[in-house]
């Protein structure tokens, strides 16, 4: 039995992981970076970005939700009538998410 017949389990896995990150980590991130640090509730400094753990965290925070978007957007668009161009649409969406992942990694490696 060939279990690798389609890549859909992978795209869906990234989609659902991205959904979890978007739902749980992003609100925490907004509170930390958007409120707690600017309002002085927590100390903050740019030093923190030197840590590999922080960079890995940012990588996960930014890249996974891109796949959530790609999957949701391409399915929604095809449900709204773009079904005939589903393939190129999927390539465009998942391709953008991959490009976003590469750019994120590149930026994070250079800080």
């Amino acid at each position: 039995m060939n279990h690798r017949k389609t890549l859909e389990p992978m795209w869906w896995g990234l989609f659902s992981a991205g959904g979890v990150v978007a739902a749980f980590l992003i609100p925490i991130h907004i509170v930390l970076l958007g409120l707690a640090i600017p309002l002085g509730w927590l100390p903050g400094s740019a030093e923190i970005f030197q840590s590999w753990i922080v960079r890995l965290y940012l990588f996960v925070l930014i890249s996974l939700p891109l796949y959530h978007w790609a999957h949701r957007f391409s399915f929604t668009m095809s449900d709204l009538g773009l079904r005939p161009i589903r393939k190129p649409l999927a390539i465009l969406c998942y391709g953008s998410a991959i490009a976003g992942t590469v750019v994120t990694a590149w930026v994070l490696l250079r800080i």
Binding site: M1, H3, T6, E8, P9, S16, F75, T76, D79
Partner: protein
């Protein structure tokens, strides 16, 4: 018993006679305890014997009387006429299916899909009957029992907007039954169901709209079954990539 009247606006389609479906209205006086199916049977017996529709058990068990009632997929033997405030009730064949005649849909596509998930217990080796039953704990029973209640009424297919767009989608009931057998501790056939589930027209076509579970008259919750199938399939896919030699 008090009697009221209602106008049933029924979709007619007679192949060879009608080029497109048309609507025909019938006035029916009904007692309080009549369901939509009673009114249709009254029409068939006393007003117009040419009207065609399927039914059998009249008690929500056989799954053959599904129709669109005022635009919603319903078992007509469980839809009381008194539920509807309107003076007119629209009765149409189940949405998204080809129509054979009047309210009778062609369900052969569904039967093929159902077969593709091998909805029966598959075993590598059978025990000799003298060795006794295959015992299950209450927990093992709970894992699949809610999904056994499906009566193949196809209401979930009519409610599913994805199936409306993509009729090759294997659909809610077939996937719920695939899950039902995969979850059964006596079954060893999940590999045989894998290709039907893990296909673009299998579980991956579903975008979790959830309407299937809303309309299901047997509370099967196909939407939950499909999400579980997606999680199980994605996990198995990761395993097959990381441990390719472990594949069955």
């Amino acid at each position: 018993m008090s009697e009221r009247t209602v106008s049933l606006k029924v979709t007619r389609y007679r192949p060879g006679q009608d080029s497109t479906p048309t609507a025909q209205s019938y006035e029916v006086a009904y007692p309080d305890d009549w369901v939509v199916l009673d009114a249709l049977n009254f029409i068939k017996d006393h007003v117009d014997g040419t009207l065609s529709f399927r039914w059998s058990c009249r008690m929500g068990v056989c799954g053959s009387c599904g129709m669109m009632v005022n635009g919603e997929p319903r078992l007509t033997c469980s839809a009381f006429l008194r539920e509807f405030d309107s003076q007119e009730i629209r009765i149409e064949p189940l949405a998204h299916f080809p129509v054979i005649r009047d309210l009778v849909i062609d369900m052969s596509g569904f039967l093929d899909k159902l077969k593709s998930v091998s909805p029966w217990i598959i075993r590598d080796t059978e025990k000799d009957p003298s060795e006794g039953e295959y015992l299950q704990s209450p927990k093992q029973l709970d894992a699949y029992h809610p999904f056994t209640a499906c009566i193949n009424c196809l209401l979930c297919y009519s409610a599913c907007p994805i199936f409306g767009l993509e009729t090759d989608f294997i659909g809610p009931a077939a996937l719920a039954l695939a899950h039902r057998y995969n979850e059964d501790s006596r079954d060893q056939g999940s590999a045989a169901r894998w290709n039907a589930i893990n296909d673009h027209n299998g579980a991956w076509q579903c975008t979790f709209v959830g309407e299937c579970s809303v309309v299901c008259p047997k509370s099967v919750d196909p939407a939950a079954a499909i999400q579980r199938l997606k999680v199980d399939t994605a996990k198995q896919w990761v395993r097959s990539v990381l441990l390719p030699w472990g594949q069955k």
